[in-house]
């Protein structure tokens, strides 16, 4: 089937503005969803290649989904709204630890403040974790009206290092464990115990699909356009009647919410037991790379970037082995550094809009194929 739009005439603006206006794209999406929701669990259940063992699910698909969610969150802030953030790891941590506290009961007994909340079920805990992250995000977003560009990035670094410290030092967050690391409670979603990799995968898949859909709607609408206007030329945007404070705070809030939820999922569903190191500055940079490589300002790009960064170390490890070249673990990790760095430079030179733009350029060519133009 050739990739053509011929004959697909839109008769309403609604149809023209759909997420996937081209029929072939819609079909591709349905197939993808079918594979993700039905195909993968089936294959895993019956241990059919490539899901013969749990490896693909546990080590690749689940972290991919959660990191893609975090990347979408960061993309909203940095890619769509143009506010560089180097502290997304901290927001994941806030989401994770807040969700932990909500799920194990919050008891604050200060002379001037007494709060006692019983342990909440898992879903509300995770969402509230996101809300906490959003509130902190708004706090760090307030300066963004006056502080711009690189200076704002330093402010986000302040958030990163400060919260790194908070979650190590303030024992209240870890419920006073001696080791400083925390274990998530059993995962009960609507009364169903989620334990096997397939079940964890489905939970993550549902979260990611819902959030990706909401995010895509948001960036296509009025608020998304306001964000992009501020990113491209904030003075002109203000002169059009856009209120920069509102739009920027919304970007920080929504972005931090998603990153916080991703953090909670990362801790509860993927890791099971974690410590603050899981959310340190390396994580922040990892997310930033996913955004840059996948494509700034693209929901699809967030998925592509996350997949790429996650798979790269595995590729660099497996390919030499397959070719029979001996390579140490250490060399692999150094190679990952070099390749990631080189790829960022390469992409910035050749296609600053990342894989997502390469993808859409590829589709453009596909629409014309077999004609050259």
């Amino acid at each position: 089937m050739l990739y053509r739009e011929t004959g697909q005439f839109k008769t309403s603006y609604t149809a023209d503005m759909a997420i996937f206006p081209i029929r072939q794209d819609r079909i591709a999406l349905w197939i993808l969803l079918a594979v993700a929701f039905v195909g993968v669990p089936l294959l895993a259940n019956f241990h059919i290649w490539p899901l013969g063992s749990d490896y693909l699910l546990r080590a690749i698909l689940i972290p991919f989904l959660i990191l893609a969610l975090a990347t979408i969150g960061l993309n909203i802030l940095t890619g769509y709204c143009g506010q560089l953030s180097l502290g997304s790891g901290a927001f994941m941590a806030i989401g994770a630890y807040s969700a932990y506290k909500f799920s194990t009961g919050v008891h604050i007994l200060l002379p001037w403040l007494e709060i006692s909340i019983p342990p909440l079920p898992l879903l509300p805990s995770i969402l509230l974790g996101g809300v906490m992250a959003a509130l902190v995000g708004i706090l760090f977003g307030v300066p963004s009206l006056r502080i711009k560009g690189l200076y704002l990035a330093v402010a986000t670094l302040a958030a990163q290092f400060f919260f790194d410290w908070v979650f190590i030092r303030v024992k209240w967050f870890t419920n006073y464990t001696s080791s400083g690391s925390v274990a998530a409670p059993d995962l009960y979603f609507f009364g169903v115990l989620v334990n096997t990799p397939i079940e964890r995968y489905i939970v993550c898949l549902i979260f990611v699909t819902v959030f990706a859909f909401l995010a895509k709607n948001l960036v296509r609408g009025n608020l998304g356009r306001q964000w992009m206007a501020i990113r491209d030329m904030d003075i002109a945007a203000e002169l059009m009647g856009i209120r920069p404070l509102y739009a920027k705070l919304m970007a920080f809030a929504i972005s931090s919410f998603m990153v916080g939820v991703a953090g909670a999922l990362w801790a509860f569903v993927y890791l099971g037991a974690w410590e603050p190191l899981a959310f340190n500055i390396d994580r922040s940079f990892q997310l930033l790379f996913m955004v840059i490589i996948g494509g700034l300002g693209s929901i699809l790009g967030s998925f592509l970037g996350a997949a790429f960064i996650l798979i790269l170390p595995i590729l660099l490890d497996q390919v030499p082995h397959a070719l029979g070249i001996p390579i140490s673990v250490e060399t692999v990790s150094l190679l990952v550094f070099i390749v990631t760095g080189a790829l960022i430079c390469f992409l910035l030179i050749v296609e600053p809009h990342g894989f997502a733009r390469l993808w859409s350029t590829g589709k453009e060519k596909l629409r014309l194929w077999p004609y050259p133009y």
């Binding site: 402010a155 002109a236 930033l288 960022i344 910035l348 030179i349």
Partner: protein, 309 residues
């Protein structure tokens, strides 16, 4: 109760540590002043220079060279490595991106950081390599006035003196040489500088080479202090608050910023630390920078940008 002697000790060690931060920050200022690019890779350059130096030094000493010759040749070798790196960066990364906006160039330096971090360790090894170029013992003075005396680390003092010499040299370079003027022109406007015949590729190579040499100097001091290892690259992050306070384009500002951050950190750790739980040094510099930004969005000495449309 805290004695004045203790306070002086913390203050002095903080100021001197701050000078060491300035050494790294100077590299940033150099590149930003001359090309308008914020070079995130400065920390990685310190690592590369340090590794090149210490590995060649160790190899030569093992080979039987007398120490002074080994050090001299080691420094030369490291300088050559930095020159090659500068050329490669200009040719393959900066050159192609010459007219892009600041954010793109900044992100490309993040890419360069990772290439350098991986590459330098691949070439020279990824262990911790101790460096012994300066005395590291302590020096006590004022024993008559303060009980126990004031402890000052000799290495820090060496670092301070080196920084002073470097600042003086850079200041002269920028103000009074033809190349220095050309660099300032390029920083202002790439296209305009090109149109008056300033060869941008050559200029950028010189700038990155100079920054590489500054990184080498910083590596000698920091390498002696911490040993040459991967974590040295995080110095780049610490330089950011220094630059915010001192300004991105001011050489004396980098020193001042370093002093403020260094002293601030140590004092906060000593006096605030015990009541909050310690480890404040981890984030204090950044929060201080954030506080400064809230009052002055362009940093303490930044120029107020008048926007035009």
């Amino acid at each position: 109760m805290v004695s004045f002697g203790q306070f002086l000790e913390v203050l002095i060690s903080g100021l001197l540590a701050g000078v060491l931060y300035s050494l790294v920050a100077l590299g940033f200022v150099l590149i930003y002043k001359a090309s308008g690019v914020f070079n995130f890779a400065q920390g990685a350059m310190v690592l590369l220079a340090g590794l090149a130096l210490v590995r060649s030094l160790d190899a030569m000493v093992a080979f039987g060279f007398p120490p002074w010759a080994a050090v001299g040749l080691g420094l030369l070798f490291a300088a050559v490595i930095m020159a090659i790196t500068a050329w490669l960066i200009e040719r393959f990364v900066l050159g192609p991106l010459v007219n892009q906006d600041g954010l793109t160039l900044f992100m490309s330096t993040i890419g360069v950081t990772f290439i350098l971090e991986g590459g330098s360790q691949m070439l020279f090894g990824s262990d911790v390599y101790p460096l012994r170029l300066f005395p590291t013992d302590a020096w006590f003075f004022g024993e008559s006035r303060f009980p126990g005396g004031i402890l000052v680390n000799k290495l820090d003092v060496w670092g301070g003196m080196i920084a002073a010499v470097l600042v003086a040299a850079l200041a002269i370079f920028f103000q009074h040489t033809k190349t220095g003027r050309a660099l300032r022109a390029v920083a202002d406007d790439h296209a305009a500088a090109q149109s008056v015949g300033i060869p941008i590729s050559w200029i950028w190579f010189i700038v990155w080479l100079a920054a590489g040499l500054v990184a080498l100097v910083a590596a000698t001091v920091w390498g002696t202090k911490l040993g040459v290892q991967f974590s040295i690259t995080f110095l780049a992050l610490k330089a950011l608050p220094v630059l915010i306070i001192g300004g991105f384009t001011s050489v004396p500002g980098a020193i001042l910023g370093g002093l403020i951050i260094g002293a601030g950190e140590k004092l906060a750790e000593a006096y605030l630390g015990p009541s909050i739980g310690g480890g404040i040094e981890y984030w204090f510099a950044y929060v201080l920078a954030l506080a400064v930004l809230l009052i002055k969005p362009q940093g303490l000495f930044g120029e107020r940008i008048i926007e035009r449309i």
